[in-house]
């Protein structure tokens, strides 16, 4: 059974969001989902690029004004 996790990163500025996410993703199992909320626009782009490079599935939506919600599913692939 895949678990789901949540990270509230509202108020964190670059590069902190991606560093926290990298640590969190290293801890969770492959197939687990991680829900992230951030208000730093550049971090959204960073997270998308990082997910693509590491073959994690992701989706992004703008939840409200200036807050993005990202859902990430950890891939089986070994991180570089």
């Amino acid at each position: 059974m895949a678990a789901s996790h949540f990270l509230d990163l509202v108020g964190e500025i670059c590069p902190v969001p991606l560093i926290i996410i990298q640590k969190k993703v290293a801890d969770i199992e492959a197939g687990d989902s991680l829900l992230i909320e951030t208000d730093y626009p550049r971090a959204v782009r960073n997270i998308m690029d990082w997910c693509r490079n590491n073959a994690h599935l992701y989706s992004v939506e703008e939840k409200g004004k200036g807050i993005w919600r990202i859902i990430l599913i950890k891939s089986e692939a070994k991180p570089f």
Binding site: I13, C14, L18, I19, R42, N46, N53
Partner: protein, 221 residues
């Protein structure tokens, strides 16, 4: 009586809200452009209007692309993500061509050469280090901070205050800096290598950096 006041204030709020909801960013933008065109027509300051429109377009690109000079360096080191570093090298390529034209035109007309031609030395290294630390702590460079402020990111307002304080201090002491550093002769490539040589050297250096970036990217995949 009390309930009547309550009802009135509630209906007033609803009334005000209806008007506030009519204001959208697009409408505000159109209103701002309209006012600027009117102002330019009254002052016959069409140059300023063109500059303002160019600035607005650049700002729009900056905002949409989420371009960040701080990320171009920081992400390359922290996350080995060099997409922005490559974008920056391309910017240097394009601006080298543009500025070569502008500077060569001024040079051949015998005018002073435009551009930031300043002496280099140990002060460049120290200044760059301090600026880099500040940039990463602030979470972006000056231009992406301005884009963020325009977006309504309140933290950027405090960073803007810091930038203003630093710029004011720099402007206040500019005489001392010019007296101390200004005496060193700046290195301007065309003086030493000729125009073609200077531009070729710059392109070679940029090309090598780009190849290095592409290599790092391939290695990671």
């Amino acid at each position: 009586m009390k309930t009547l006041i309550k009802l009135r204030s509630a209906s007033f709020l609803a009334f005000a809200e209806r008007f506030i909801l009519l204001i959208t960013p697009a409408k505000m933008g159109i209103a701002a452009i309209g006012m600027l065109v009117l102002w330019a027509a009254f002052q016959s300051a069409w140059d300023n209007l063109v500059l303002w429109l160019l600035g607005a377009l650049l700002g729009f690109c900056l905002h949409r692309a989420r371009f960040c000079l701080a990320a171009a360096f920081r992400d390359a080191v922290l996350f080995r993500d060099i997409s922005l570093s490559k974008a920056m090298i391309i910017i240097f390529f394009v601006s080298t061509i543009g500025f070569a034209f502008i500077q060569f035109r001024a040079y051949s007309l015998g005018l002073p050469i435009p551009g930031n031609i300043h002496p280099i030395g140990f002060h460049t290294v120290i200044g760059a280090f301090i600026f880099g630390v500040g940039m990463v702590l602030a979470g972006g460079c000056v231009c992406s901070m301005l884009a963020r402020l325009g977006e309504g990111y309140v933290l950027a307002l405090f960073i803007l205050l810091g930038i203003m304080a630093g710029s004011l201090a720099g402007a206040y002491n500019v005489g001392w800096w010019e007296a101390t550093i200004g005496s060193i002769k700046p290195v301007f490539f065309p003086d030493y290598l000729g125009w073609a040589g200077g531009i070729t050297l710059q392109f070679l250096a940029l090309g090598l950096l780009y190849l290095l970036c592409a290599r790092i990217e391939r290695k990671r995949l």
